[in-house]
């Protein structure tokens, strides 16, 4: 397979969030701001990359019947490592993402790529697949987070955009619903429409 296609498929063609609908729980949960989305996306990318790498290295050593438990152990180890390192060196981000970091273990995207791709392909392809899918996931989360942050808080990456009129207390009148849970579904729905439209144009 052409490695460039292998890498770029994660962004639009097979985007984990907008096209494959994998890993929607953290997607809807953490994307209250672009920064949170990016942090979660990069954490998942690291886990995806490492688990794809390790799974493709050990694939021929693993008996078929115990491959799923083995993959889960590999993924869970990397998630725990990410969690501990993040708590030690990025405590602010860790507090924001909180519960969602351990949940990467059960993110079907990670196990899905290990099972469907890394256990059948060579090391290089698996690394590239992990990176492509991971960045695609991070891209989707950042985009969704950015849309929700702009509409819901009037900021982007914490920078005030001065888009909304101010109320009598000097606070901007924003569309609060977008920061709350229903807004996640609304924003995701419209983004999926846009991405599908874009996909039809490209492919």
């Amino acid at each position: 397979m052409n490695q460039w296609n292998n890498f770029s498929k994660g962004f639009i063609k097979d985007n984990p969030v907008f096209v494959l609908f994998l890993g929607l729980c953290p997607t809807l949960g953490v994307t209250t701001s672009a920064f949170n989305g990016l942090g979660m996306g990069l954490a998942t990318t690291f886990v995806l990359l490492m688990s794809n790498l390790v799974v493709s290295i050990i694939k021929s050593l693993i008996p078929d019947k115990v491959r799923i438990p083995t993959f889960i152990v590999v993924i869970a180890s990397f998630v725990t490592i990410v969690e501990m390192v993040m708590e030690a060196y990025l405590p602010t981000l860790f507090e924001q993402l909180g519960l969602f970091i351990p949940l990467i273990v059960v993110n079907c995207l990670v196990l899905g790529r290990a099972e469907a791709f890394a256990s059948k392909n060579n090391i290089l392809s698996s690394i590239i697949d992990g990176l492509g899918m991971g960045f695609g996931f991070a891209f989707a989360l950042t985009l969704l987070g950015a849309v929700r942050e702009i509409l819901g808080s009037g900021t982007l990456f914490g920078l005030n955009l001065h888009l909304f009129p101010l109320d009598s207390d000097g606070n901007p009148i924003t569309m609060l619903v977008f920061v709350l849970a229903p807004g996640a579904f609304l924003a995701l729905g419209y983004l999926i429409v846009l991405i599908n439209k874009l996909k039809k144009k490209i492919y």
């Binding site: 209250t32 050990i58 021929s60 050593l61 693993i62 008996p63 078929d64 019947k65 115990v66 438990p69 083995t70 152990v73 590999v74 869970a76 180890s77 725990t80 490592i81 501990m84 390192v85 708590e87 030690a88 060196y89 405590p91 819901g152 808080s153 207390d169 606070n171 924003t174 609060l176 920061v179 709350l180």
Partner: protein, 196 residues
């Protein structure tokens, strides 16, 4: 390389080796990150204490003790300057929040005036209840310099002296509840100090 067959020994061996490698890797990272994690937590606590009480020269974290208030135990961090008590930071909480527990660090001057308050943890609605945070709104500064002895820690709707956050009466009420709990702990703490 041919795929290993799924015989019993193969499966047991594989899982054993995989879990062994995984657990030793985790143990290694745990050892590596243990200290920065603990230091980060300690630093955060010290910072919270520093922002809410007047200047001090002692180690409030090491002199901390607990007092019982209405069946809950609250932690008090006494701040001293050259041995003299200048204030107390009280780590307090409330369960009345709109979405669960709110944790505050409330600082009092030695005479009982509220010096400053900082929010340690909350899950209030973004954009509404989260205005209890200093970074979101200056609502919480209305408590500074007030003595709960003659400043009723209740929102105006409940015949108190506190201006509630617009559209977040529940969060404001919860905040007041936590602060008055802290004040009760402070009174007990001061009593302890004078006995010593």
């Amino acid at each position: 390389m041919a795929k290993k067959e799924s015989t019993f020994t193969n499966m047991v061996l594989t899982l054993f080796v995989v879990t062994l490698v995984a657990s030793s890797a985790l143990g290694f990272v745990y050892k590596l990150t243990k200290e920065p994690i603990e230091q980060g937590k300690l630093r955060k606590k010290n910072e919270a204490i520093r922002t809410v009480v007047p200047d001090f020269t002692n180690q409030p974290n090491e002199e901390a003790y607990s007092v019982e208030v209405e069946g809950d135990s609250l932690k008090i961090f006494p701040a001293r300057k050259n041995g003299k008590l200048v204030g107390m930071a009280v780590s307090t909480f409330t369960n009345e929040g709109f979405s669960g527990e709110i944790k505050l660090m409330v600082g009092f001057n030695a005479n009982g005036e509220i010096n400053n308050i900082s929010v340690l943890e909350h899950k209030e609605t973004p954009g509404l209840g989260d205005k209890i945070e200093k970074s979101k709104s200056d609502w919480s500064t209305q408590f500074n310099g007030k003595n709960p002895e003659n400043f009723k820690l209740k929102v105006k709707k409940d015949n108190g002296d506190v201006d509630a956050i617009t559209a977040s009466t529940i969060s404001s009420r919860a905040y007041c509840d936590a602060v008055s709990r802290a004040y009760n702990a402070f009174k007990k703490g001061v009593k302890n100090e004078s006995v010593e």
